[in-house]
């Protein structure tokens, strides 16, 4: 194909032509909001979502839509301008939620989802979604530990955000195999949570062997997907397919997770308990010691004790709990966790997109019918 024959793509057609494919792969496309935060661009974003998730969509349309979110040359800069325009009232407030929701629904990779989310960091109403989109990931590059650290830092912020706490505890239980994480998830689930967080908490329950969680996960997913069925009919199929993959082998996944839990270094946890118990002892201050002939001994451990604890802290507690010697089991649980988080982001994205679609409908855009190119 001659260079002159490659078009500049704004919206990939259905089915996608070879020339458009070459254009998308070679960066000859206008990213979303590449023309500025205008009404036409908002309309293009809505149409892109429709084309990707329509019943008769091109099989690769979701990938193409993801490509259009950013550009290799300018990155997510157009989205940053959109955030600024929305803050100044030059663009509809729901447009930012639509784009971030779209990234989640389409199953963007950790890096792409993070890029898009960071562009909307200044949007106060999206702060929790931005945090989760950026930090609830790590499966693509096995960077679970880094994402966990970010989540932990976000979870420590005041006031606490329940959705972030759920994600952090999910990491604790599913990836670090700490049972306290499951207890925390159960405690959090007792109170009101958004459906996607409830779904994530139920997934941890499912891998721990709770049979009823499967039905609960399905119900929650249906509740989120219901409003999406009309504008984006293909979306429910995508999520359903991934959920079948997730929930297909309950005993195997439970077994793999327990294998990982069993090969954790439980003895090193005990040593910290010993040292903690030791620091509370006051040998020379006991009543039968008669008189306090030596001064107060500080709580710090001996050098040997410090080395026993610090070596683990230096390596990172989470890393050691995740990176267990049972390689096959770890890989199986990691794969499962990766898919679970993908579905979780799809559901979060769907929740955001629903908010955006409500805004669009309120602005008179008919999002439930196939939109046509050209002026509204």
């Amino acid at each position: 194909m001659a260079p002159g024959e490659v078009p500049v793509v704004e919206l990939p057609s259905t089915p996608c032509s070879a020339a458009e494919l070459v254009a998308l792969r070679s960066g000859r496309y206008v990213p979303l909001f590449g023309h500025g935060a205008q009404a036409a661009e908002v309309r293009r974003a809505l149409m892109l979502a429709q084309r990707a998730l329509a019943a008769n969509a091109d099989p690769r349309a979701m990938d193409h839509a993801l490509t259009l979110l950013t550009h290799p040359g300018v990155g997510a800069e157009p989205l940053r301008h959109l955030a600024q325009a929305a803050a100044e009232g030059h663009a509809p407030h729901w447009a930012t939620a639509l784009v971030l929701g779209l990234a989640g629904m389409l199953g963007a990779s950790d890096a792409l989802r993070g890029d898009v989310a960071r562009a909307f960091k200044s949007v106060a109403s999206l702060s929790t979604e931005v945090t989760l989109a950026c930090h609830a990931g790590g499966g693509d590059l096995n960077a679970w530990r880094d994402h966990y650290q970010e989540l932990r830092a976000a979870d420590a912020e005041d006031p606490p955000v329940r959705a972030v706490s759920v994600a952090r505890r999910w990491y604790d239980f599913v990836l670090a195999r700490r049972w306290a994480g499951l207890d925390g998830l159960r405690a959090l689930s007792a109170d009101a949570l958004d459906p996607a967080s409830q779904w994530l908490a139920a997934s941890a329950d499912w891998i721990s062997g709770e049979e009823r969680s499967r039905a609960r996960m399905t119900d929650l997913a249906q509740a989120v997907l219901g409003p999406m069925q009309r504008p984006y009919p293909r979306f429910a199929q995508v999520v359903a397919r991934e959920m079948v993959e997730l929930l297909g082998h309950p005993l195997t996944m439970r077994w793999e997770h327990l294998r990982c839990a069993a090969s954790r270094d439980h003895a090193s946890v005990a040593i910290r308990a010993w040292l903690h118990a030791a620091a509370e002892e006051r040998f020379f201050d006991e009543p039968d010691a008669g008189h306090a002939e030596f001064g107060e001994l500080g709580p710090e451990p001996s050098r040997a004790g410090r080395a026993a604890v610090e070596s683990r802290q230096l390596a990172g507690d989470f890393l050691l709990d995740w990176f267990v010697p049972e390689r096959e089991a770890r890989a199986a649980v990691d794969d499962w966790a990766r898919t679970t988080l993908k579905v979780y982001h799809r559901l979060r994205g769907a929740m955001l997109a629903e908010v955006a679609l409500r805004g669009a409908r309120a602005d008179g855009i008919r999002v439930d019918e196939p939109m046509k190119e050209g002026p509204a």
Partner: protein, 349 residues
């Protein structure tokens, strides 16, 4: 009498008058005499000069000189022994444990079947956390010299806290008494404290601990770190608890109690096993068998038990080296055997 012989006699005189250190005047004189011998080309003189300076307190200078001797005479076992000796007499023996072990392994290769080298190697390997090799060295030392109480002490400590052999506690508890005059250092009571505590004789253990630090002056700023080191070690020994972490109720407590990850993982595996047994038809296509789960349960238990011993050893044995070695170095001069291993003896007749 040659300068070397005069140096050796002066050094011995200085060490005989050891009281929280050698007599400075005599050790300095010995260093000068050894220097003179070294100038005459005697390698033993060079080693002696370094040793005298190290015992006078200049550990860095002594190490530098010994490295020079080793560079010039790489087959001089005495220099390696001296290097190992100063590694063990350093105020922070854990920091130098690897270098000390290296020097003593070299010394053992050059001068095999010397009990005190094997024993020193066992000590440095323990400080470095190489417990299996340390146990072998301690046993070799005992095989070479059945009366080596220091080697017996380390062997028993390693057996107790690395091997999980509770019978070694009795050996430790009786160590200072059995040794009598041979093992004069009150620091040995520190090992007795470990043995007595393991046997749940808590009051006796506290008494032994007090005897270990009794020679040190209360409130003395220079001696306080050693007292605190011993107290800190004993405090951690108490946290570890009596006996070895292998038995009944102790086991459950050591792994963190009923809510610990270990206990809950074990319970979850047991419940999975039950589920597999109840619905074999479901388990078959998923390729999980009760036998696999049994294997995982046994592996979890065995691996954690072994881990507890290793972590316990790292905490208790290295902590013991950290507390015990500075005490011994402060209260005791190098033994005659050690001086002989460094060629710093004169054979009469």
């Amino acid at each position: 009498m040659s300068a070397f012989e005069a140096g050796v006699r002066t050094l011995h005189e200085g060490l005989a008058a050891w009281k929280r250190g050698a007599s400075p005047g005599l050790v300095s004189r010995a260093a000068v005499l050894f220097d003179e011998a070294a100038r005459g080309g005697d390698v033993r003189g060079a080693v002696g000069a370094a040793v005298a300076r190290g015992l006078a307190g200049d550990l860095d200078g002594a190490r530098r000189r010994l490295h020079e001797v080793i560079a010039a005479s790489p087959r001089c076992a005495a220099a390696y022994v001296a290097l190992g000796l100063f590694g063990l007499r350093d105020p922070d023996p854990l920091a130098h444990a690897a270098a000390t072990s290296w020097a003593l392994v070299a010394a053992r290769d050059l001068a095999p079947d010397v009990a005190c080298i094997e024993r020193m190697l066992a000590v440095s390997l323990s400080a470095g956390g190489e417990f299996m090799a340390a146990l072998q060295s301690a046993r070799n030392a005992l095989a070479l010299d059945r009366d080596d109480d220091e080697a017996r002490l380390w062997s028993a400590l390693l057996r107790l806290h690395f091997g999980g052999d509770l019978s070694a506690a009795t050996v430790l508890a009786e160590c200072p008494l059995e040794a009598g005059g041979r093992m004069a250092s009150p620091a040995a009571w520190l090992a007795a404290a470990a043995g007595l505590y393991a046997k749940s004789e808590f009051h006796e253990a506290r008494k032994a601990m007090r005897r270990a630090v009794a020679p040190l002056k209360i409130g003395d700023a220079s001696e306080a770190p050693m007292v605190d080191g011993a107290r800190r070690w004993f405090r951690e020994l108490r946290g570890f608890g009596p006996g070895v972490p292998m038995t009944g109720d102790r086991w459950l407590r050591d792994v963190g109690g009923a809510q610990s990850d270990f206990t809950r993982t074990r319970a979850a595996l047991s419940s999975l096993r039950e589920a597999l047994a109840n619905v074999p038809a479901r388990a078959k296509p998923e390729r999980v068998s009760a036998l696999d789960v049994d294997g995982a349960l046994a592996g979890l238990e065995a691996q954690t038990r072994r881990g507890m011993l290793e972590w316990g050893a790292r905490l208790i044995l290295r902590g013991f080296a950290e507390a015990y070695l500075p005490l011994v170095a402060y209260l005791e001069a190098p033994t005659l055997e050690e001086l002989a291993a460094m060629d710093l003896v004169v054979c009469d007749g």
